[in-house]
């Protein structure tokens, strides 16, 4: 194997505006939306007809017919059909993980170019047969005699017509992600006001990014939507203060405004070696430096469900001999405002940093002016596997426009996982 590595660079990204669940994309499938995001990227980068090294993509909620979702989507685009593709699944970390996988292959010289992408729909969700009914049908399928089949038929009950609907709950705890985060918010003493402030900043910054044209080459309109449907700038603490808590009971601090809504969308990122970029006349925006994934024991209750990035980042920093303050930009996925604030609080906490991270001193605080400078998931919304591509594309362009710098990406995921990475320009 090649013992030398080479830089993998981000060249372009594209996404469709994110829509709220059962909104304008209600009739669009994951394959439709992913194809649209790829179409936009192919047009923006001028790579129609190119055979790429590979395309990695994924969706968190997937129909069984979409077993080869990324490959089937690419076959609907003008990229060469001789480009291989595969699906990746790491819950909300899927989008960033596709980028890490492909960037590593570029760095190793196994491929020269790739697209990392992700998509999710909560409108066209994979509703399945009732589990009891499914078992009877499977048994009937393997039953030979009519008498035995008749016995199975007798087991059918009217209630079995109720389908199996995907749950937004952790399989091993039965708690929804919001309820898990409410526990984190309480443990870390995150106030309602701090969460609402983060939400307001997210909306205002994303709206400003649209106004100044920053999003023009990152977002391609789809099905009549030109901007993220969830975006509502100009709110105030007073207005958001009126909302009732949705997680954590009547005393809870989490509301519909400081939690991401269910949504639909897709994103895609083009990356390559420097040589490939040069040959295709494309300007590298940023280069991939490193990545780390971590997981916590949320089932045992030792850590909160979405605290894994708090572990992943210090491990990555140590390996790269960086401090938490050595960054010009921080892109922390706002699944919930409380997730971002709990993570920041953990890094400031001497006890957590000593006992859990094994550090002599806390990582410390970050300059909040550098956090999610073009808005985050609270404003754009969070179509699970599409978030990673949105953030990588955003950060690469931010770094490029800044004329250089270093950026940190942190994304929490279901199952107590976290995926983080570093880009530089």
């Amino acid at each position: 194997m090649n013992s030398q590595t080479r830089p993998a660079v981000v060249l372009a990204s594209n996404r469709i505006p994110f829509a709220r669940s059962n909104g304008p994309y209600a009739k669009a499938s994951n394959q439709d939306m992913l194809t649209a995001a790829l179409d936009g990227l192919i047009a923006a980068a001028g790579i129609a007809g190119e055979r790429l090294g590979e395309i990695a993509g994924g969706a968190v909620l997937k129909h069984s017919r979409d077993f080869n979702l990324t490959r089937e989507s690419l076959l609907g685009t003008r990229i060469s059909p001789e480009t291989p593709a595969y699906d990746v699944g790491q819950a909300c970390g899927t989008g960033l993980e596709t980028f890490i996988l492909t960037a590593n292959k570029v760095a190793l010289g196994q491929i020269d170019s790739a697209i990392a992408c992700g998509v999710d729909t909560t409108s066209d969700a994979p509703v399945a047969l009732n589990e009891d009914l499914r078992k009877i049908l499977m048994e009937a399928n393997s039953t030979k005699s009519n008498a035995d089949r008749a016995k199975l038929l007798a087991k059918l009950r009217p209630g079995m017509i109720v389908p199996e609907i995907p749950q937004n709950a952790e399989p091993r705890t039965g708690l929804s992600m919001g309820e898990h985060t409410a526990i984190m918010a309480r443990d870390w003493g995150i106030t309602r006001e701090a969460q609402d402030e983060l939400a307001i900043a997210s909306h205002d910054r994303l709206a400003a990014a649209y106004e100044e044209g920053f999003e023009d080459d990152l977002v391609t309109p789809y099905l009549g939507l030109e901007r993220d449907q969830n975006l509502r700038p100009g709110s105030t603490l007073e207005k958001l203060g009126k909302l009732k808590p949705v997680f954590g009971g009547p005393e809870g601090t989490m509301t519909a405004a400081n939690s991401t809504p269910l949504s639909d969308g897709a994103s895609a990122v083009l990356l390559s070696s420097e040589q490939w970029a040069k040959e295709h006349g494309l300007t590298p925006l940023a280069r991939f430096v490193d990545a780390e994934t971590a997981a916590v024991d949320h089932v045992g209750g030792r850590d909160g469900l979405l605290m894994a990035p708090a572990y992943a980042v210090p491990r990555m920093l140590a390996r790269n001999e960086l401090s938490l303050q050595d960054f010009d930009f921080y892109e922390i996925h706002e699944a919930f405002a409380a997730q971002v604030l709990s993570t920041l609080a953990a890094w400031e906490d001497p006890v957590f940093c000593h006992e859990r991270l094994g550090l002599d001193a806390p990582l410390g605080s970050i300059d909040r002016a550098k956090l999610n400078v073009k808005g985050g998931s609270l404003a754009a919304a969070h179509p699970f596997a599409a978030t990673g591509g949105r953030i990588v594309g955003n950060l690469a362009k931010i770094l490029h426009e800044n004329g250089g710098g270093r950026g940190l990406i942190s994304i929490c995921a279901a199952g107590g996982q976290g995926v983080v990475g570093i880009l530089e320009a």
Partner: protein, 312 residues
């Protein structure tokens, strides 16, 4: 040739009522009634126009699903046909029209898309019938539809329609697209349900009884319901959508009726200059008594980049 008269419509005509009225034309003697097609011997010298047509995205999504297109921000090459179809129906169901609507046979259909058409663009539609001429099996005319955005012609369609009756052995047929070799592998197979005609009728508005049900088809002398030719053309183009340029000319010549249910397949023929020939063929047993027989062909088509700046 531009017709003498232009009739501007305020809204899309409903096709359901028109088929009801058109059905009367099939009854002997009914064509003598003033509102039933079948009088006269010349095509009405009129162009029907409907301006500022907006695409209903729900309908587009349903059409794309039935035909196999990806739901994009741009329209399938066949979609403006769906928008123009009610105008064509109105034209052919008018008292001025020389033939009853039911019983007309769609022989071929040719579309030029000059550029990608956004689903959010407002289209001005124009429809007319022209060039009534003898055909070996009766009389034929050309049904023209055009879509413009402002002053820019973005899409045009010409279909040849046959009215059976009489024989004109000397008359010329329209040229057909170049054949796809008989032995070409069917690279795609589709199983078509007997409800396909009804499903396509739902998204296209074309509720001609020969497509709707085996029983209604029998009333017109067909053993089973027939798939719409425009569905066949759309399904083939959907299969080729990743290889269809934004500016494209696509021709389809309809062959043997596609009786439902069916199992069909697509054979492709790649040619010089980005041209792709395609044939929709029966995919059930092709050999009789061990002798390979020529495949039953339902549609023969081609896509290619259009000649620069050319309309036909």
């Amino acid at each position: 040739m531009q017709p003498a008269r232009t009739e501007r419509l305020d809204g899309p005509p409903g096709s359901l009522g028109l088929y009801g009225r058109a059905g009367l034309g099939a009854i002997p003697g009914a064509s003598l009634l003033p509102f039933v097609g079948g009088r006269g011997s010349t095509l009405p010298d009129v162009e029907l126009r409907l301006e500022g047509v907006e695409v209903d995205r729900e309908r587009l999504a349903e059409y794309n699903e039935v035909c196999g297109f990806t739901l994009r921000e741009t329209l399938p090459a066949t979609y403006p046909h769906i928008l123009a179809f009610p105008l064509q129906m109105k034209l052919m169901a008018s008292g001025e029209f020389p033939f009853p609507l039911l019983g007309l046979v769609h022989l071929d259909n040719s579309i030029i898309r000059h550029r990608a058409i956004g689903a959010g663009e407002r289209l001005d539609l124009a429809v007319r019938a022209e060039d009534l001429r003898p055909h070996p099996k009766g009389k034929a005319f050309t049904l023209v539809a055009e879509a413009s955005v402002g002053d820019e012609l973005v899409w045009e369609e010409r279909g040849t329609i046959l009215r059976r009756g009489g024989s004109n052995p000397e008359a010329e047929r329209n040229p057909r697209p170049d054949p796809v070799p008989d032995g070409a592998q069917l690279t795609t197979q589709w199983k078509l349900g007997d409800d396909l005609g009804r499903r396509y009728a739902g998204v296209s508005g074309d509720r001609n009884p020969i497509h709707m049900h085996a029983l209604s088809a029998k009333a017109f002398g067909f053993p089973r319901a027939i798939a719409h030719g425009m569905w066949s053309q759309a399904r083939c183009l959907a299969q080729l959508e990743s290889r269809t340029p934004d500016a494209v000319r696509t021709d389809a010549s309809f062959g043997k009726p596609l009786f439902l249910p069916a199992k069909v397949g697509l054979a492709l023929d790649e040619r010089e200059g980005g041209e792709i020939g395609f044939a929709l063929r029966d995919a059930r047993g092709r050999a009789k008594d061990g002798e390979p027989s020529p495949p039953t062909e339902h549609l023969l088509g081609v896509i290619r980049p259009p000649a620069p700046n050319a309309t036909r």
